[in-house]
């Protein structure tokens, strides 16, 4: 049972948050994990999410916004169903990360931090995702796709569009 009446989160997430605030010496230390879990569930950090998290850890909404705005992985606008994160850090860059990014932009018709009109894809240029060994790599939601070429990207996008989950490297790090 959630400690907050009328929570906007699912019972599981609400229970998780109830627990989170108890495991740190200061309640507010739970802020960043809460924001991440909230984003996973709601899709982005809405004003309602900010209000509830502030209430849960006794912060002002302003404090939550201050932290939220610092981290580029937290977003305040909905992303697409599949959030394509293209790495352009050094290993990926050397092995064609920018070509992959340009290809994605062209293919999806959107730019950095953009979302396709049908809401299926959104695109982000990100810093190192820790897949240097198999560069260039992209991350779609929590799934990694590596050793890419533009052709492979086209296939990937089509599979996502068809609703097939091409979970190549498999691991959901959620």
């Amino acid at each position: 049972m959630s400690e907050i009446a009328n929570t906007i989160f699912s019972p599981e997430t609400a229970a998780r948050f109830d627990h989170l605030v108890t495991i740190y010496p200061l309640k507010r230390s739970a802020l960043v994990p809460m924001l991440l879990y909230a984003q996973d569930e709601i899709g982005y950090i809405s004003d309602a999410v900010i209000a509830e998290i502030a209430q849960r850890i006794d912060l002002l909404e302003l404090d939550v916004r201050n932290v939220l705005s610092y981290y580029s992985m937290l977003r305040t606008k909905p992303a697409g169903k599949y959030n394509v994160q293209v790495c352009t850090n050094i290993s990926c860059m050397l092995r064609g990360g920018y070509e992959i990014l340009d290809h994605c932009k062209h293919k999806l018709g959107i730019g950095h931090k953009g979302t396709t009109p049908d809401g299926v894809f959104s695109l982000e240029e990100v810093e190192c995702i820790g897949a240097c060994c198999w560069a260039p790599a992209i991350q779609i939601n929590y799934d990694f796709h590596d050793d890419l070429t533009t052709e492979k990207v086209d296939v990937l996008f089509q599979m996502y569009r068809d609703g097939l989950s091409p979970n190549t490297t498999g691991k959901d790090v959620k």
């Binding site: 507010r28 004003d47 006794d58 912060l59 002002l60 909404e61 302003l62 404090d63 916004r65 201050n66 705005s69 610092y70």
Partner: protein, 801 residues
Amino acid sequence: MADVTLTVDGKKITAPAGTLLLEACKSAGIEIPAFCYYPGLSLQAACRMCVVRIEKMPKLQTACTTPVTEGMVVTSESPEIAQARKATLQLLLGNHPLDCPVCDAGGECELQDMTFKYGAADSFYAEPKNHREEQKWSPVVYFDRPRCILCYRCVRMCGEGMDVFALGIQNRGSSSVIAPNVPAQMSPDDLAHVDCEQCGMCIDACPVGALTSGTYRYKTRPWEMNHVSTICTHCGDGCKTTLGVRSTTDGSEIVRGDNRDKSGINVDFLCNKGRYAFDFANNEDRITQPLVRQPNGEMEPVSWEVALDHVGKRFRELRDTRGGKSIGVIGSNRTTNEEAYLLQKFARTVLGTNNIDHHRTADYVAFARALAGTTDRTASLNDTLTAPAIMILGGDPTIQAPATAWNIRTNVRNNRARLYIANSAEIKLRRQAKAFAHIAPFSYGALASFLAGDDSAVDALTHSGADASSFHDFRKAIRAEESLLVLLGSEFRGADLQRLLAFGKTLPNRKFALISDYVNSRGAADMGLLPDLLPGYTPLAGNTTFAEYNTPTAPGLDLLEMFEAAGSGELSALYVVGSNPISRYGVDPASLKDTFVVVQDMFLTETAALADVILPAANLYEKSGSVTNSYGDLQLVNKAGDRAGVRTDFELIVRIADKMDANMKALVPFGKGTRADMGQSRGAQSGEADRHAVWLSANNMEPKLSPFDPFAILDEIQRLVPGYNLLRLQLLSGNAQHLQPAVNANDLVQIGNRRDLVLPANDTLFTSGTLGRYSAMLSDLQHNESLRPPTGLTQIQTAAD
């Protein structure tokens, strides 16, 4: 703490251990520049301007975060340091617009000064500057984002200093920005706003022109104004505010109020009223010509001579035909001590009446009487900044006395002072309190009894939210304090106040203060604007101090009795100076129909509207004199603004007395005195001597040359009013000095039977009695507040807890 010795630039200096290097250097007269450092707030080390070279340490160190240590050898200026600072400035200027010629801070800007000093005016950065439009966060706070150098002073000032936390820092790197607490997407007008106390401390702290004031921005330049330090008229704390004035065609206009040199009793604090609410002085609706009611009932402007003649003649006529007892006088909480003293002296010696009163906002009579015969029992405002333990009973300093609240917060934050609060409301300062006793409504009398040891009174305090044991714990905790500063709200009056103080003064190291509402509420009571007491709370009968007054010994009518007398046709004349009793006390205007009413005021108030003669008066910012704050701290008032057509209350009282053919030298001791025979000052003939002249020469002072010189009356106040043994140098140099009433414990004055006539002003942060209605900025702020539902700022815990 023990002192340590260190060397800075080859100069040996000593400072207490633990002092920050920057502060130690400042005390030794060595300036180390810093943008982010602000004394008393947490350390940030964000700006890197204060870097110095310390021997045996690698790299340059920030002086603002380094405590001094024994034998430290420091270089505060060298080519290396200058280069580092210059590089810092170049980075800061990378995005800072070069709009100094139009920027409000131009001439008062720390970045400008530093750029001038280190010569970083030309930049290596060719990138286009990141421009953003200015934002209006509230009627008084504007934000120019490109000018911000991200020193975080405003963020800390608002959070730590004000306990409001309305400002934050968002994004990161070069896109970092100061953000207010109402973001654009949550605002009805889609613009970011700040929901706060509007004190303007963020603007004060801003080292550049990023935060600017709504009243002052783009109006003038700092060097085009004259700066006059005077005392704010709005609350009982009596903060020093520096008014920037500029000549206009009809006088001298006040353009800005701020805490320019931070030399006052308020140190670095000033609230929104002190900063912005001076604009009543420039109000278009001010009366600038004397008005006299004509036989047809219309008010007509007349010359000063006609108006004063008319008042003098009528007063004399009514006094001589119907007696002094038929005349009433009402004084003000906002006039100087000299004016209040002169007004009661005029009433008592010229009009021959004790019917004199003022709008009382706290029971200073009971306070002074209860502490009679004690010394060092009254607290100064300064004490709230240093006392190790403070108790606040009643009142709400955050709203009624913002500087008191600021001092207490600072004291709790920096000195870990213990704060105890007992109140029937959950006042905001409880967030700083060690213990908060939430008493039942209207139970302050019982609280006084309970604290004084009456256990049976606890029943009246308890309610569903607080049980008896919580009050016992509270009492135990405050009894255990070795020394305690006790601040009392105006809820404590008469017998309650007396009971509390009578007990309190039996305990050692207890100091007391009674909080009232306006700048000279305390002074008005001290100066005897009371029907039953002379200045210094001296009884009417049986005193020798004021023997020269020859005043009637029977107490006069108090303020309400005067209006009752007027209603029954017994009041022939009423003289109201700077007060609006008709509105404040809800008096029926019809009761004054047979009374000759003279009003001295700035505006056509409800009271002035009933007057037969209106004399346009100057306000506190347009005169000189002294005022006494709630605590009894005496300070100098300086003339800043000026308006053609108005005169000070002091001058008007003198002129009316003159028109009544009063003995002017007896009223205002000026010139060589009435009797210059100094030889008669002793022995059998001593009664013949001019006591004032004798006193002046004994104190090495010259007689004042003009009857319009308030200092002539100040001399008399110092000579006669018990407790006003002030130091001239202290007063004239703009410092505060603490005075305590020296009441004779043997005087028989019954406090218990006195009528309770205290009427607290109940002002909010954005109102200030009748005067506040004429301040456009206060009206704007009230409107601004009404746009948003209360957010319950005080209910939320914050990051700092």
